[in-house]
Amino acid sequence: MLAYAIRRFGQSFIVLVFMSFLVFVGVYAIGNPVELLVNPQADEAERIRATAALGLDKPFLEQYWGFLVGAAKGDLGKSFVFNVPALTLILEKLPATIELAFVAMVLAISLGIPLGLVAGLKPDSFVGRGIMAGSIMGFSLPTFWVGLVLIMIFSVHLGWLPSNGRGETVLVAGIPVSFLTMDGIAHLAMPATNLALFKLSLLIRLTRAGTREAMLQDYVKFARAKGLPQRRVIGVHVLKNILIPIVTVIGLELGSVIAFAIVTESIFAWPGTGKLLIDSINQLDRPVIVAYLLVIVSLFVVINFVVDVLYSLLDPRVRLGGAAAAH
């Protein structure tokens, strides 16, 4: 287990280096940040000065090498736009995003799995069909559209919820969180729902599919025949059997919701990293993009690692590290 973990994080290091290189190449291919940063009325001397100030006058590989040297010392560079260390900028915004992502995921999981179970156990009932048809609504319409409709209804027409921003925060273990204040919850409600919708639908559908299948497996039939109570059959035998794909998808979705809540954060002006990322990409603020994606890649590495560990816990037949099976 420990050896596995160490090996896994060793690999991650290579992933990080490779990732940063890709981002460098990508941003280089998109365009020249100076075009966007320098005031269009500026003269040539000013453009040259700005290019040098941002270190963009050096050859590409030299710029990348400079980044690597800095990164080795823990310095991921300063934002071109804000002149603040990129990592600081991201870490300041990260709690807001993680909070939003977790609330959304909790919503999706706590509703999605039970609803999916119901739909899977009674696939032909009215409720079962209703849940399935309803879940289609959750992913048919683009997030930005649903977000604005929510704002129209709850902020503009009813005036119940604030349309933008994050509410009042309190410090928990030094981290500002907003879900403990009324104001915070009011601000959280719409963006979290907006983000949760797609995941909710996906989870309902996955759970239903898994449940239907599990109900027909011999061991479930056997357990039922033995007269085990329904609750125990579902809680132990069915759930356990369907959890692997669900855990995978939850892992993937949690990662992507933290990383790319771009649209929701823009519409609701949620002060998180998604908004920072889209603004940085639009401004070609390379240090922030690189640092951001390195943070995200690390996040995915951790999530995927946890998910892989969970596999082996959920199903002992899955061995960590996947010892080659072909022999």
């Binding site: 998109i30 365009g31 020249n32 940040p33 100076v34 075009e35 966007l36 940063l37 320098v38 005031n39 269009p40 009325q41 500026a42 003269d43 040539e44 001397a45 000013e46 000065r49 700005a50 100030a53 941002l54 300063k78 071109f80 736009v81 804000f82 002149n83 603040v84 900028l89 300041e92 915004k93 604005l148 704002i151 129209m152 902020s155 503009v156 027409h157 009813l158 005036g159 604030p162 349309s163 933008n164 921003g165 823009s266 519409i267 609701f268 002006a269 002060p271 908004k275 920072l276 603004d279 990409i281 639009n282 401004q283 070609l284």
Partner: protein, 526 residues
């Protein structure tokens, strides 16, 4: 919604209202469209920053709502001779920390401006002409320039004065944290959260008199729909740059006030004349390159200008929040010619001109434009393409985010480009020089001339104007240059953007040509 529910909500809203108004009487929230990247007034020469900084800091010369220069921290100024300027400074002005404002602060500011580390766009352009500074007494200062520089007062209007005492050892971070953000302006720094909000408090000792607000919160709401929703739901009391799609509805709604003003930004077309043969993305209708570059023919350029229905764009695409353009600035600005009128939509005439120029069957172009830079930029591009089908020119449209667009446009990878230009100085000479003088980066001529238009006659008129100190004569020269360029269709002006602000009822904003959103201009009332 049922009637009862409606009533209940209305009653609830009414009962809550008086308390809310009293508590927040002198507090206001404003929704801005772009991030403020720093609270250091010399770090990033960027319109949203410049607008924000004007609350905290002040220049020697201010600009009024029509960008006319007015006294700021200087009470008067004059050119002693061609190379010498004398400025009288305002007395009894104090910085937010209580220290008095003197000529030393001006000297310090001028020294700091070109030396802000990591600045992505500095203000050095404005201070560079000054080669020597002499402090005559604490409230008199003399500037020397190497060559006659008429635009010095205009340049200094862009340079905000910082406190020497607070700024001596300060870096950009100290301004962002508020430690060094000590100015003389009507509002004091209270909080700055990048990409999120700026909070300012009133400076009660302000020399210009009392301001209407105790506390202002600027919220960064880059998404246009989010901005409007925030206004509609009462989260902010004013927003800038109202999306054109919402103007009709807001202007009819008695709960809101809408103000607007034509701005200093022109949307125009550059046609790539850099190549002998077909420029990029210009072909005949079968896709083969053309023998000659059609944009080098003034008749073709004229025809393409006549082929655009500016009134329809202003009316239908811009919801009347645009004014058809004839030159680079609306004609109440300095150096503009009243003789120039927007080119009339005339598809028949355009076809005839194209035939005369040797293109009786037209040709094919791709219109390139940004889609997140100017108001409705991609829609304007699409409408132009639509009009061109009427004059026999096949037009495709490709729009992209400015991150990609401007790099490629500067590399001249496009043939026909939709662009915009805001004249911050408010005088047309500098714009003609940047956009239409023959491209020569080293001399600072035509630096943004992406069409590579070149006309010796225009160059000459501009270079004479540049060295003329007499205001009247100079203005006449610039007007003449503008007429030369526009009669030759050096570029195709489309329209001037109209800036818009919407406020909740009970607030009134004084609209500005420079698109700045200044809390001083927002008053309670009506």
């Amino acid at each position: 919604m049922t009637r009862t529910l409606r009533l209940a909500i209305a009653a609830l809203a009414l009962s809550a209202l008086p308390v809310a108004v009293l508590a927040k009487d002198r507090e206001v929230s404003i929704g801005l469209q772009a991030a403020i990247t720093s609270m250091d007034p010399h770090y990033h020469n960027l319109s949203p920053n410049n607008s924000m900084m004007l609350h905290v800091f002040e220049p020697l010369i201010k600009r009024d709502a029509n960008q006319k220069p007015v006294a700021g921290l200087a009470t008067s100024w004059r050119a002693v001779d061609d190379l010498t300027w004398e400025f009288k400074l305002r007395k009894n002005v104090r910085f937010h920390d209580g220290s008095p404002f003197t000529a030393d602060d001006v000297v310090f500011t001028l020294k700091r401006v070109p030396n802000v580390p990591n600045s992505p766009s500095s203000f050095a352009t404005f201070t560079k002409p000054i080669v020597d500074v002499k402090v005559v007494d604490p409230h008199t200062i003399v500037f020397k320039t190497a060559t006659p520089h008429v635009l010095l007062p205009s340049d200094l209007a862009s340079v905000l004065i910082v406190s020497k005492g607070a700024g001596e050892k300060a870096a950009t971070e100290d301004y962002n944290s508020g430690k060094a953000a000590i100015g003389t302006g009507p509002y004091k720094f209270a909080e700055y959260v990048p990409n999120q909000r700026v909070v300012l408090k009133a400076n009660y000792g302000y020399w210009g008199g009392e301001e209407p607000w105790d506390k202002i919160t600027f919220k960064i709401l880059t998404n246009p729909a989010a901005r409007v929703a925030a206004l509609l739901s009462g989260d902010v009391q004013m927003i800038e740059t109202v999306p054109t799609s919402d103007i009709a509805k807001l202007s009819k709604d008695a709960k809101f006030n809408l103000v607007d003003k034509v701005s200093n930004r022109v949307i125009y077309i550059h046609m790539n004349q850099s190549t002998e043969k077909s420029p990029p993305f210009v072909t005949d209708k079968s896709g083969k390159p053309l023998e000659k570059n059609p944009f080098r023919d003034a008749r073709v350029r004229k025809a393409l200008s006549m082929g655009i229905n500016r009134d329809a764009i202003a009316d239908r695409i811009m919801e009347k929040k645009a004014v058809p353009a004839a030159q680079l600035l609306p004609d109440f600005f300095y150096g503009t010619s009243k003789k120039l009128k927007p080119v009339k939509f005339d598809p028949e005439g355009a076809k005839k001109l194209l035939a005369e120029a040797g293109y009786p069957n037209g040709f094919a172009i791709t219109i390139h434009g940004p889609n997140n830079r100017y108001i409705n930029d991609d829609k304007v591009a699409q409408a132009i393409a639509q009009f061109y089908t009427r004059i026999g020119v096949d037009a495709k449209v490709e729009t992209m985010p400015s991150a990609v667009y401007f790099t490629r446009a500067t590399k001249l990878e496009f043939g026909y480009m939709v662009l915009g230009w805001g004249t911050e100085s408010g005088e047309q000479g500098s714009s003609l020089r940047s956009l239409l003088a023959t491209y020569n980066r080293d001399k600072g001529m035509g630096v943004t001339n992406r069409g590579r238009y070149s006309n010796p006659e225009l160059d000459k008129a501009l270079s004479v104007a540049l060295l003329t100190m007499d205001e009247k004569k100079r203005e006449a020269l610039i007007q003449q240059a503008a007429e030369i360029a526009m009669n030759d269709t050096a570029l195709i002006p489309i329209h001037y953007e109209v800036s818009t602000w919407a406020t909740a009822k009970g607030f009134k904003y004084e609209a500005r040509t420079d698109q700045y959103t200044l809390a001083s201009g927002l008053k309670p009332g009506k």
